[in-house]
Structures are given as structure tokens and as C-alpha cells.
């Protein structure tokens, strides 16, 4: 039995079933992401000065991924328009490009951006110990400029306390760091004092510093920059007793409210991208059988999945400035 208004519009609403359904679904999606963005606002407004990072994410990569999603939004609407004109081969081309864009977005996110965070270490310093690490934080300089204080020391972990979760990773990083020192001829201090790589104290962390901590008074580090700066060859020793919080960690959700909300929102968004790509692949391959039976029905399906994809793009348009730029 044919379900009424599966293909043709209902006269009173002017909508076919799936279109009505997808808009109701998108309304629920607005509430879902609305709740998460609302959580973002709560955490951000509640963060004390210095505790909400700026310029931590790779802006060129984020910009590239934004452009990729916008391109995919264009191609998916072109795929639908091609079907409206009954140009099936053109539809296949545009839908193919959309699929490639979706996969590219996910690859950049999962194979490049996320792994970089999972291997980047940072510790928040206790308020009463900030002065002890002034050479890495430069807070007197920032205070003179009326800028937010720096409360975190971050970079690559070279030495972690014995028995710590990160002990093995730190050993591998230290080995790589020593290799770099050897290549640069700095292991014996030819170019100044040789950096500390490991310590005998089982409670110390040794961190290969990010540029902002290596040169905290450099004006170039006062504000975020567009291009990511390379890791420095300077290191810092941080005592476990000076660290704020019980579980120092890589840039994973538990590291800070920023990363908790970053991974939640971008992770959920990534799942939406994955879902969209899988549906596109179906409608690019086996699902095209419907086109031969009923082209208008197939066109409607593409319009509906296209609406979902535009919503995914729309969410990213807000995610990009909120996490990468501001």
C-alpha cells in the first residue's frame, strides 16, 4: 500500500511527509545544540581571567575545514538541483564531491586536529605559586598591558612522575627531544645552557615549552596569531605540588572546561558529519535504484538529506569562531 503524500505534497501544508519530518527533526537538533552552546556560554562566562584559552587551536586548519563544509553545502544543493532537472550524471558528480568533502573534513579532524590535542600537555599553576614560574608566565608584563594573566604552562611532556599515566609517553618524547638536541648541537650547551630533559625528582614534570611560555614577554605572544608557531627547544620543570587540580593531563576533555565543551560539541558535530556522509554514500550507490523507479521520490530524499547537511554546516559556522577565534 502506498503511503499518502510520500512523494507529492499535502494540499493544505504544501509539504510531503519527509520534509515535514526533517524539519521537526531539525527543530529537535536546534534544541540539542542549543543546550550545548548554552553550556558553553555558562562555562565561558564563569571562567576566571586567564582560564579560558585564546588562540589554542590551529586557525588555518579550522578555516580550511570551514571552507570544505561550505563547498559541500554548495555541491549538495547542486546535486538536488541536478535531479530536479533530471540530470542524473551531474547529480552523481556533485554528490560524489559532497561525499569527498565530508570525508576530508573528518580526516582533518580525526587524523590531524584531535591527535595533536591528545599529545599536548598543559598544567594550571596554583595561584600562590604563579610567582615562582614568572619566567614562563610573564604575568607582570601582561598586567602592565592590562591583559589577562597566564596561568598555564604547556607543551610536550618530557618527564612525568614515576608511575604516572604519562610516564611512557614522556619517555618517548624525551628520546625524540634528545635526538633534536643532538641534531642541533645543543646537547652540550654550545648554543647556551642545555635544556633539562629529565629530573631525578619523582614528583616533577618537565615540559618542552610552547612559544608563549618560552618567551612570555615577546609582544608576538600577547595575542593569538593566525599561523601556528613551532614548538621551542626550551623546557621548564614544574613541581607536582604547584599544579592546580588533581589530574594534570593532555588536552583531553578532563583537562579544562574549554576542552570538555570543545570535544563535546565538535565530537557531536563530527558524528553528524559521519551520519550525513554514510547517508550520502547510500544515495550515491545502492539508493539510486529508487531514482529509476520514481525520480521525484528520489529527488525528495536528496532534498531532505541536503537539509540535514545544511544544518550541520550551519552549526559549524558558529563553532568555528567560538572555539578557534574568540
Amino acid at each position: 500500500m502506498q503511503i499518502p503524500h510520500e512523494v507529492t505534497a499535502r494540499p493544505d501544508t504544501g509539504l510531503y511527509n519527509a520534509k515535514l519530518g526533517i524539519w521537526l527533526f531539525l527543530a529537535s537538533e536546534v534544541m540539542l545544540f542549543g543546550g550545548l552552546f548554552s553550556g558553553y556560554i555558562f562555562l565561558r562566562l564563569g571562567a576566571e581571567p586567564g582560564y579560558w584559552p585564546h588562540g589554542l587551536l590551529n586557525v588555518p586548519v579550522g578555516t580550511f575545514n570551514t571552507a570544505v563544509l561550505i563547498l559541500s553545502s554548495v555541491t549538495v544543493v547542486l546535486a538536488w538541483a541536478s535531479l530536479k532537472m533530471r540530470q542524473f550524471s551531474r547529480y552523481k558528480l556533485y554528490m560524489g564531491i559532497t561525499i569527498l568533502c565530508g570525508i576530508l573534513f573528518l580526516v582533518v579532524k580525526l587524523a590531524y586536529e584531535y591527535p595533536q590535542k591528545f599529545t599536548h600537555f598543559g598544567v594550571f599553576i596554583k595561584k600562590d605559586a604563579l610567582g615562582k614560574y614568572e619566567q614562563y608566565l610573564g604575568n607582570q608584563h601582561l598586567a602592565a598591558l592590562k591583559l589577562d594573566p597566564r596561568v598555564e604552562i604547556s607543551g610536550h611532556l618530557l618527564d612525568a612522575p614515576k608511575g604516572s599515566h604519562y610516564e611512557k609517553v614522556a619517555q618517548e618524547n624525551a628520546e625524540h627531544f634528545r635526538h633534536l638536541l643532538h641534531e642541533g648541537g645543543a646537547e652540550h650547551g654550545e648554543h647556551g645552557e642545555a635544556p633539562i630533559v629529565t629530573t631525578d625528582d619523582p614528583n616533577d614534570y618537565v615540559i618542552q615549552l610552547d612559544p608563549a611560555n618560552a618567551n612570555p614577554t615577546d609582544p608576538a605572544n600577547e595575542r593569538p596569531s593566525f599561523w601556528a608557531k613551532p614548538q621551542t627547544m626550551k623546557t621548564a620543570v614544574v613541581q607536582a605540588a604547584d599544579i592546580d587540580g588533581p589530574h594534570p593531563s593532555m588536552y583531553i576533555p578532563r583537562h579544562s572546561p574549554y576542552f570538555a565543551v570543545y570535544f563535546t560539541i565538535t565530537g557531536l558535530h563530527g558524528l553528524h558529519v559521519l551520519g550525513g556522509v554514510l547517508i550520502f554514500i547510500y544515495f550515491w550507490g545502492p539508493g539510486t535504484e529508487l531514482y529509476r523507479r520514481n525520480p521525484e521520490h528520489f529527488t525528495n530524499r536528496i532534498e531532505v538529506v541536503g537539509l540535514f547537511w545544511h544544518f550541520v554546516d550551519l552549526v559549524w559556522i558558529f563553532v568555528f569562531p567560538l572555539f578557534y577565534l574568540l
Binding site: F42, E48, T63, F226, H310, F320, L325
Partner: protein, 123 residues
């Protein structure tokens, strides 16, 4: 409605759609590419603006959100065809806007009724 009747209606609808809207859709190809170009350019503008200091971080956020809202309006109006969409869809959107605004206002309540123990209370 019988199967054959529905099918014949669909085929007829498809044929008329084909004939009437072929040129219109072809013309839209240029519009879609154009809007895509504008959206990518506005992404560049958002990045560019983020390196300017408009006096306070709040102002920078408001300006970036204005650009983002304009971009979202373009996606909604052109790509999602909300421009000229049926009233039923708009009714859904009005309700959604109402409830999502309520959701954001609930979050804003913490300014007047802070949750005990959060960092925000310390200010």
C-alpha cells in the same frame, strides 16, 4: 487513494516539474555557487576581524556572531530554501526559536541566582 492513481499523479507531477522548472534550476546553479563564494569570503572576514581589537572581548564576540548570523541566514534562506518556504515550516521555526531562547535565558538565570560552589560565585 489507489496505488496506480498515486503513481500516475506522481509521474505527472514530475513531468510538469521537469518542464517548468528546468531553466529556473539551471539559473540557480550560478546563485548557489555565488552564495558559496560569499560564505567562504565571509569566513575570511571573520578570521580577519578576530585579529582586530574592537575595545573589549565582548565587542569582538558580538561582531563575530553578527557575521556568523548573517552567514547562517544565507545558508537558511538560499540553500535550505527558507526564502519562500511554506508557512508550516516557518511555524516550526517560530516555536523552535521561542524554546531555544527560553533555554538560553535559563542559562542566563545564573547571573541572578548563582549555583553555589561555581567559580562564578567568587566574582
Amino acid at each position: 487513494m489507489s496505488d496506480s492513481k498515486e503513481h500516475s499523479h506522481d509521474t505527472h507531477a514530475a513531468v510538469t516539474t521537469d518542464a517548468a522548472s528546468h531553466d529556473a534550476h539551471n539559473m540557480h546553479f550560478g546563485l548557489y555557487w555565488g552564495i558559496g563564494g560569499v560564505l567562504i569570503a565571509l569566513t575570511g572576514v571573520t578570521v580577519w576581524l578576530s585579529y582586530f581589537d574592537f575595545g573589549s572581548r565582548e565587542r569582538n564576540i558580538v561582531i563575530a556572531m553578527l557575521v556568523a548570523t548573517f552567514k547562517v541566514s544565507l545558508v537558511g534562506a538560499i540553500f535550505m530554501h527558507l526564502k519562500g518556504e511554506k508557512p508550516t515550516i516557518w511555524r516550526f521555526l517560530y516555536f523552535t526559536a521561542f524554546f531555544v531562547t527560553g533555554l538560553f535565558l535559563l542559562t542566563a538565570l545564573h547571573w541572578v541566582d548563582p549555583i553555589f560552589g561555581t567559580q562564578h560565585n567568587l566574582h
